[in-house]
């Protein structure tokens, strides 16, 4: 093509750096939206050709589905793959094929338009179905529709589950259900148009230790499949069609980054203790059992946050007690005697399970989620608790309830724990006796009554991500206001101070498990505010440990006392910067501000 050279001109996009590292690779563009289909006319002499094109597209789609079916069957089992049988059947549906061909001939329109019209017509009957579950099957039909239309338009845009070789995943947005179907080993980096540094893609990228840049606005429209990309998760740059010069520059930066990482890993076997002998419990956050090796490899002691919902949302139906038990046990056994802290199912918000009722909520983050969901679905709650208590027989287990906003939730959840334990004993199961029960502190109301809550539980864990979101009333996925989402705000620091005070007064320990320790500031503040435990993504553990081991508890405590007198996040940042520059310049190297 004559204009190919112009097409491949180097372009640089700037976004929000969300996970450090530098990646080089081809783009895998994911587009879950509908393609624009226009009612273009087809000349009469080409109608037959258009019909043939339609039939060819059906065949191509069928072939695609056949391959996918085989792959799914190999990876997930025969049952999982069955749904694709019905997808293939839609392609051979007599009514659909005949109607589409009739439509092409009668209205002399292109196949994509005819097919879309016919299917949309069918889909309207689905809209009238009252049963939610059956209604949602319309999604399957839309999926088939997208595949056929894509093939008709000759676009090579793919679903995430089709990722079969290493590539950079480019998308408008990625939800937990999207990333759940990913073969994680093939993902070199994530880049998304929307989102902030704590959006789901960012969190996953960090837990996988791969770079991510988010909030790139319109990048996905400017990248074609297989375009060469460089992702710099440190500065937030994405380069499309890099020149050899640019490649060289970023390669050097990548080498430097890896060297620093390697140096940090040498700390793996040392404890997280300050220069003056204050020890803090340092543990890892995980979403899936496979991440346990990372936790150990990065030198964390146990798991401080096991987000159990990922086991639930990646499946089409609820996992049974036995399945959960086996899954949890694999994690606990590997880490014993170090603790594993299970956060009970936290669905809702942006984490929607396929089996969950499809409730349309205007404000999902303030809706039916966390403990609110499990207390109203006690069947699900009990099954999970049974599996966890049984797991506790094999190691050191802690249980934590998410999204606590009122006392009643804690009392009810504790009562159910007692019932479950009694049931299990009666059924002669071996269970762990000394399971600590705690709660997440992530709503302002929980902070306000922390003194009373502390009398009811064995520990607190402050979930900074949601606490910031609810306290500052800021949607963390909204890039227009994500500037407000900052853990250095005096309001957040005071909330943490008050929570720690309330916990220690009642003699219980308190940890932090959000993204806050992901910066040198956050780690210093967490230490100085007196938290007993820090749980973070594995990749952060070496850096947090390095920072803790470079300072004295005394100096950081007095630093934080002064910080608590400041009135803006900017002042807090400047004050901490000055402390680092004056007292501990070596810390500058770690976790630059860019990650926040």
């Amino acid at each position: 093509m004559a204009h190919k050279a112009a097409d491949n001109k180097e372009m640089i996009f700037h976004g929000i750096p969300a996970s450090p590292g530098i990646a080089f690779g081809e783009a895998f563009v994911v587009n879950v939206e509908d393609f624009p289909v226009t009612a273009d006319r087809v000349p009469p002499d080409q109608i037959e050709l258009e019909v043939q094109r339609f039939e060819a597209a059906l065949q191509e789609t069928e072939e695609e589905l056949r391959k996918l079916h085989k792959r799914l069957e190999d990876e997930m089992g025969v049952e999982h793959a069955k749904i694709l049988d019905s997808h293939r059947m839609i392609l051979t549906d007599e009514v659909i094929c005949k109607d589409t061909i009739r439509h092409i001939k009668k209205h002399k329109v292109n196949a994509a338009y005819a097919f879309t019209t016919v299917l949309d017509n069918v889909l309207t009957t689905f809209d009238q179905i009252e049963d939610q579950y059956l209604k949602e099957r319309a999604e399957d039909i839309r999926d088939v529709k997208r595949r056929v239309v894509r093939n008709l338009l000759g676009q090579k845009v793919e679903g995430l589950s089709n990722l079969r070789k290493q590539a950079v995943v480019v998308a408008k947005n990625l939800t937990p259900s999207d990333t759940a179907v990913l073969e994680r080993k093939y993902v070199l980096a994530f880049v998304t148009d929307t989102g902030g540094s704590t959006s789901h893609a960012a969190i996953i990228a960090r837990s996988l230790g791969i770079p991510a840049v988010v909030g790139l606005e319109n990048l996905s429209h400017n990248v074609k499949p297989y375009d060469r990309l460089i992702i710099d998760g440190i500065s937030g740059q994405v380069v499309v069609h890099p020149t050899p010069e640019t490649e060289r520059m970023f390669k050097e930066a990548g080498i430097k980054f890896r060297e620093m990482e390697k140096e940090l890993l040498t700390l793996r076997d040392y404890p997280a203790v300050t220069l003056d002998g204050h020890t803090i419990e340092l543990s890892g956050n995980i979403e899936i059992a496979d991440e346990v090796d990372d936790v150990v490899g990065h030198g964390a002691k146990g798991v401080g946050l096991f987000r159990t919902e990922y086991f639930f949302i990646t499946r089409n139906s609820l996992p049974s007690e036995e399945e959960q038990y086996r899954y949890y046990r694999s994690v606990v056994k590997k880490l014993a005697p170090d603790p594993v802290l299970f956060r009970t199912l936290d669905v809702g918000g942006d984490k929607i399970a396929k089996w969950a009722p499809n409730v349309q909520e205007a404000n999902p983050f303030m809706g039916w989620r966390g403990i609110r969901f499990t207390l109203s679905r006690k069947d699900i709650f009990r099954t999970q608790l049974r599996a966890i208590f049984r797991t506790a027989a094999h190691g050191n287990v802690r249980i934590m309830f998410p999204m606590i906003s009122v006392m009643e939730e804690v009392l009810q959840a504790k009562e159910i724990c007692e019932e479950v334990k009694a049931d299990l004993k009666r059924e002669r199961y071996q269970i762990g006796e000394n399971v600590e029960i705690g709660i997440m502190i992530e709503t302002p109301s929980a902070v306000a009554i922390a003194d009373m809550l502390a009398r009811e539980v064995d520990f607190f864990s402050i979930g900074t991500n949601d606490l910031i979101q609810y306290s500052l009333a800021v949607d963390r996925g909204n890039s227009r206001i994500s500037y407000l989402y900052n853990d250095l705000h005096p309001s957040i620091l005071r909330f943490i101070r008050d929570t720690v005070g309330a916990a220690h007064k009642e003699g219980i320990w308190v940890g932090i498990c959000g993204e806050m320790p992901g910066s040198v500031y956050g780690t210093l503040l967490a230490l100085g505010l007196g938290l007993d435990e820090i749980s973070a993504g594995s990749y952060l553990i070496p850096e947090i440990k390095k920072i803790i081991r470079s300072v004295t508890f005394g100096e950081v405590k007095s630093l934080v006392r002064k910080v608590l007198k400041l009135s803006t996040a900017e002042e807090v940042k400047q004050f901490l910067d000055k402390y680092i520059a004056d007292k501990r310049p070596e810390l500058k190297e770690y976790m630059p501000e860019a990650f926040k």
Partner: protein
């Protein structure tokens, strides 16, 4: 022409996967077969038609078959739904 009534006992109703089982079965017969629920009638050989009925647990389906193998077709399809799709062959 023969016809009969059957009640859906599949827990999640006749969703896409069960609909495909039903359509597969219907396609084995030469007769013209329709299924109706309430006032909606669809071709039993079209998966989108059958899935589009939204036949939830407890709903009643009216199956009609017309052709040289109509009785076998009707018996087989009613049996399939009644058996909860042979527990999805498990």
């Amino acid at each position: 022409m023969v016809s009969g009534m059957v009640k859906v006992i599949a827990k999640n109703g006749i969703h896409l996967r069960l609909a495909s089982e039903l359509v597969k079965a219907a396609n084995r017969f030469r007769s013209e077969i329709t299924i109706s629920k309430d006032s909606q009638e669809v071709n039993a050989k079209s998966i989108l038609g059958v899935a589009g009925l939204g036949a939830e647990l407890g709903s009643e389906l009216f199956i009609k078959a017309d052709g040289d193998d109509e009785s076998e077709a009707l018996d087989y399809l009613i049996g399939l739904v009644e058996s909860d799709f042979m527990k999805e062959r498990r």
